[in-house]
Symmetry: C2
Subunit: 242 residues, 2 copies
């Protein structure tokens, strides 16, 4: 939280790569999913539906991590959660194509207002890399849709392991031939950063008060042990001298 101390203990000179969590950190999943649901005119409002869909994410990932479910890409997990929600809410009139289109709304999310400027500035000095539990196809399509200027896209699919598995955080350095301490992990979720930190990565927490929409307070709280605390990716770029 204390920028001056952080800059001293982690000299920018040693940083080479910035790895970003994507959903919530770089793109606004809540408003994108809520809009896609509202466009279908479902009986459940987009805001509630988006929150319920995302609420299904951690338990689904956990089933893969625990081995209860075999390795499954996020696209398929999203679809399975969606099917469960439609059943729970008694929504039976959607065609298979409409369900597929709705599921692909996770590719068509918009960046936060500061994202493109922040990434572009950070890219001038560092290698910027997606590190997401989203599958590669989802992340490639999202980058095209949102114009995200990634130097590289790394995914749980690359490592056949979901965050917070150390293989993912350590995999960034392995792929890009740098030490873990030269990779800054950026996320708006403390659990992601805590796991990265345990692997020796410096960390930056980015505040995203609207991650869950304006009707639900974001429960995330940053740990003061993070290397950086930023209110936006533009703020992070400024702190890193970009």
């Amino acid at each position: 939280m204390n920028t001056e101390t952080s800059l001293e203990s982690h000299s920018n000179e040693s940083l080479q790569v910035i790895a970003f969590d994507v959903f919530g950190t770089v793109v606004d999943w809540h408003s994108g999913i809520a809009r896609a649901v509202d466009e279908l005119g479902l009986s459940v409002g987009g805001d509630a539906f988006a929150q319920a869909w995302r609420d299904g994410y951690q338990p689904a990932i956990q089933r893969v991590i625990s081995g209860e479910l075999e390795w499954t890409l996020l696209d398929e997990l999203h679809r399975s959660i969606l099917d469960g929600l439609l059943e729970r809410f008694g929504i039976t009139h959607l065609t298979d194509e409409q369900k597929s289109d709705l599921n692909s709304a996770w590719c068509d999310l918009d960046p936060w207002p500061d994202t493109l400027e922040g990434l572009t500035r950070l890219k001038e000095k560092f290698t910027i890399c997606a590190l997401s539990n989203g599958n590669l196809g989802l992340l490639f399509h999202m980058a095209q849709h949102a114009g995200l200027p990634w130097d590289c896209i790394l995914s749980a699919e690359t490592f056949t392991a979901y965050k917070p598995d150390p293989k993912t955080y350590l995999g960034v350095g392995k792929v890009l031939d740098v030490e873990p301490g030269q990779v800054l992990m950026v996320a708006s979720h403390q659990s992601d950063l805590t796991a990265a930190r345990a692997c020796g990565l410096p960390t930056a927490y980015v505040e995203r008060p609207l991650e869950w929409g304006s009707n639900r307070a974001n429960p995330e709280r940053p740990d003061p042990a993070n290397t950086y605390f930023a209110t936006s990716l533009i703020d992070l770029a400024t702190q890193l001298g970009c």
Copy 2:
């Protein structure tokens, strides 16, 4: 070879993704490697050294494919070939750092003169994707160095399988959620295209007469069964209506 027939039998409408071989097809490995060798002032000329290094590539890949060698990334195969060549040529004065730097010349290759315009035009209409036996780190660094505007980078490393394994060609469609027939494989090597075609991909042969430098004729000859024949990536873009 007959463009009109090709365009009829494979309607452009169905094409979604263009997958590119990289070394030789998109970047000029020969002159880049030769220059890096010449800069070190070795007793063997850059031209001959570059050819010998690349001559070691297929046998090394083959050792992995046959299972004689466990899964090994191209960076490491390149380094192992390099060490063998230095020994063969009696070059003993290079430091470990010089050898590492020389090995990383494979990341710093320049695009052919038509590459950037060709890729940029093709990207307006199609998803453009690297599909190379190079490892991810090598391909990411090369894209940064050469300014290659990939929508996505897929590698043997993504699939833990080297071309011509069908997993690689079929993997493009699986990752990007399209059919094999919607992925055009582009290469300057017929063996790559023949293997892609066996997986149901349409193919485009690009002529690279200088792939082996100006002192060694390129032995490649295109099969008339390819869907397209192009003299450059700009020519390919024009044939595909970009």
